[in-house]
């Protein structure tokens, strides 16, 4: 009985840990249902490919994806040949040829996704002083993860009357972003792109897809993690049951 109580207390504590470590007063996010939620959750490859298309055709003009190499895209269902073709559309500056000169070459699957800007100053100069953050780890670097991402991308509204005065030049009102003023303008509009799998490209659909894609980019081992976890936990559970009965048997002759 004590053990049950204790375990319950421990689980409660762990459940509250994020609440304890985060400051109060955060925006309430509209939580979405993700295919990768839950103990057996998996990525939806079709969705990830659509999300990649959104990233590539819209986000990648300003945001980098430094930790994703073209070869990684095979994990979301592209063939090796497809990644080769995809990579070859990008140019990589290589140092150096036999003469010591920098030269351009087409990217190969082993190359990482090229950053849209050569350096931070250039990025800021192109964006009204703001630095578009790299998106590789974004869903893990913000409270709420993919839910935050989704809510942020579609969270554009006209500023409420009391804020209209405060809005700084070149900033946009966003319901989710901290301080409600974001340097990125609304990017997603219905039918801005045409999905290769024929899914209607509503802004809601695109926001959902790109958030799922970015969650894969941040946590590519999510599937293998949960699958391994199921097996490990099953093994540990059987071990624990056996250990319990062994303990009872060994203790049978002790009065306690």
């Amino acid at each position: 009985m004590r053990i049950v109580l204790f375990a319950a207390a421990a689980i409660t504590l762990i459940g509250f840990a994020p609440a304890i470590t985060q400051a109060a007063g955060e925006v309430v996010l509209e939580e979405q249902e993700w295919s990768f939620d839950g103990p057996f959750g998996r990525f939806d490859r079709q969705q990830l490919q659509r999300g990649f298309q959104v990233y590539r055709e819209i986000c990648s003009s300003c945001h980098g994806l430094d930790y994703i190499a073209f070869r990684n895209l095979q994990e979301i269902g592209y063939s090796e040949d497809q990644t080769k073709v995809l990579a070859s559309e990008y140019t990589i500056e290589e140092c150096c040829d036999d003469q010591g000169d920098i030269f351009d070459r087409p990217a190969i699957p082993a190359d990482y996704y090229p950053n849209p800007y050569p350096n931070e100053q250039f990025a800021r100069a192109s964006n009204n002083g703001a630095l578009p953050p790299d998106l590789s780890l974004m869903t893990k670097a913000r409270h709420g993860g993919p839910d935050y991402m989704y809510n942020l991308i579609i969270g554009y509204e006209e500023p409420p009357a009391e804020m209209a005065e405060e809005m700084m030049d070149g900033m946009y009102y966003n319901t989710v972003f901290e301080g409600n003023q974001i340097a990125m303008a609304q990017q997603l509009f219905d039918d801005l792109i045409e999905y290769s799998d024929g899914t209607p490209a509503t802004s809601d659909q695109m926001a959902r897809d790109v958030s799922a894609f970015l969650h894969w980019a941040a946590e590519p081992k999510l599937e293998v993690r949960k699958q391994t976890g199921v097996r490990v936990l099953l093994f540990t559970f059987i071990f624990t049951v056996l250990a319990y009965f062994l303990k009872r048997r060994i203790w049978a002759d002790v009065e306690h």
Partner: protein, 407 residues
């Protein structure tokens, strides 16, 4: 030296006569260590702490093989571990969450000692070694958190190392020494890495001393009276079997977090690379430091805050003398039992306060909580020991065990 002859294993006997290491282990945590027969499940947490220490050292050494201690590469090398190293994600999540579980286990172990009076004579030195272990753990965990070189790594390191500047006269020099320069930078990272790798082995050494000191008086027990020889049973197989079950339950909780909530106890900001030019809105340490962080920030004066924070741990060294009661177990101490639970709640409240901005209600609660923390140790414990009338103690461990009514 005692060796066991006649096992019918000549090679074994030959070796034991020359190096009796097997019987040494057997005397330490085996069939030759007599333990009271009434230890409850709270006595599992010492063994569990040992298990976590082993997990931390093994995963830590493997992580070190792929980690790069340099400000330009540290964050990236951790991501490479997460993405490209075989099972690297598992190693890192086991290590990062292992730190949290290490503190969960050790805090329960400490509160068990507080409840059952395990710090009292003749176990004072055992208790001291335990506090030294906790201090070493804290230093190790703090430096380990700096290594991924995320935003919280950098700013946590900045805030905590800056505390030492409050020391009069030599404070600034100490901070420069800790940093290896004039700000948290590459020399800070490399020295923290070196020390983070070293300290666990120091920890192992102190753990050996801790177990050694345990074997002189033997384990305390829930009744708190000295166990007579007939009330003791060999550690192996009785407590090894019981610990094995405890290990199973522990691993169920640990693996649930590692495989399904690996980032729940971390801070999202640490997935942003360290940036000395951008201060996070709200710098918080890892959850296991929060009560001490609350004590630190409960006072406006920096030096006083630092003294109180370190004092809150150092005061434990004199606890065996602050508690004037000769009765160990809270079971027989009606007033102390209540104080114990209030103290536990106080620590939980301080933990919550540590995560909040130091203003308004959290600040008031931090002040009340800090006051109560020291009031508990410095005033209540000595006084209660004098005025409290303990319940009659049983004459032997077997008495309450046998007389216990059926549940």
């Amino acid at each position: 030296m005692s060796t066991e002859k006649g096992r019918g294993m000549p090679a074994f006997d030959w070796f034991e006569e020359r190096l009796p290491i097997v019987s040494f282990i057997d005397h330490s945590v085996g069939s030759k260590y007599p333990a009271p027969k009434n230890l409850n499940y709270f006595w599992n947490f010492g063994a569990l702490a040992g298990l976590v220490l082993v997990i931390m050292i093994v995963t830590g050494i493997l992580l070190a093989m792929s980690y790069t201690p340099h400000v330009d590469h540290a964050f990236q090398s951790v991501e490479r571990i997460m993405r490209d190293v075989n099972s690297g994600w598992l190693l890192r999540y086991m290590h990062a969450n292992g730190a949290s579980f290490f503190f969960i286990v050790v805090y329960i172990h400490i509160f068990r000692g507080l409840y059952y009076g395990s710090y009292k004579s003749p176990r004072e030195v055992l208790w001291w070694l335990g506090i030294i272990i906790m201090l070493l753990m804290m230093a190790t965990a703090f430096m380990g958190y700096v290594l991924p070189w995320g935003q919280m790594s950098f700013w946590g390191a900045t805030v905590i190392t800056n505390l030492f500047s409050a020391i009069p006269l030599i404070g600034d020099e100490i901070v420069t020494l800790l940093w290896g320069g004039f700000s948290v930078d590459n020399p800070t990272l490399t020295r923290f890495y070196a020390l983070h790798y070293l300290m666990p082995f120091v920890l192992v050494g102190v753990v050996v001393l801790h177990i050694w000191a345990l074997h002189i008086p033997g384990s305390n027990n829930p009744v708190g009276i000295d166990a007579a020889p007939q009330d003791k049973i060999p550690f192996h197989p009785y407590y090894t079997a019981k610990d094995m079950f405890g290990v199973g339950v522990f691993l169920l909780a640990y693996f649930t977090v590692v495989f399904w909530f690996p980032n729940a106890m971390g801070h999202t900001d640490n997935y942003i690379p360290a940036n000395p030019l951008s201060t996070p809105a709200h710098i918080v340490p890892e959850w296991y430091f929060l009560p001490f962080y609350a004590i630190l920030r409960s006072i406006d004066d920096k030096l006083t805050g630092v003294i109180l924070m370190f004092g809150s741990i150092l005061i434990l060294f004199v606890l065996p003398w602050l508690d004037t009661s000769r009765v160990r177990s809270a079971t027989f101490r009606p007033i102390y039992k209540v104080l114990f639970w209030i103290f536990l709640v106080d620590c939980v409240v301080l933990t919550w306060c540590g995560a909040q901005l130091p203003e308004g209600l959290p600040l008031i609660l931090s002040r009340v909580g800090t006051f109560w923390y020291f009031f508990h140790f410095l005033v209540l414990l000595p006084v209660v020991g004098w005025i409290e009338t303990p319940k009659p103690l049983p004459t032997s461990i077997s008495t309450p065990v046998v007389a216990k009514p059926a549940e």
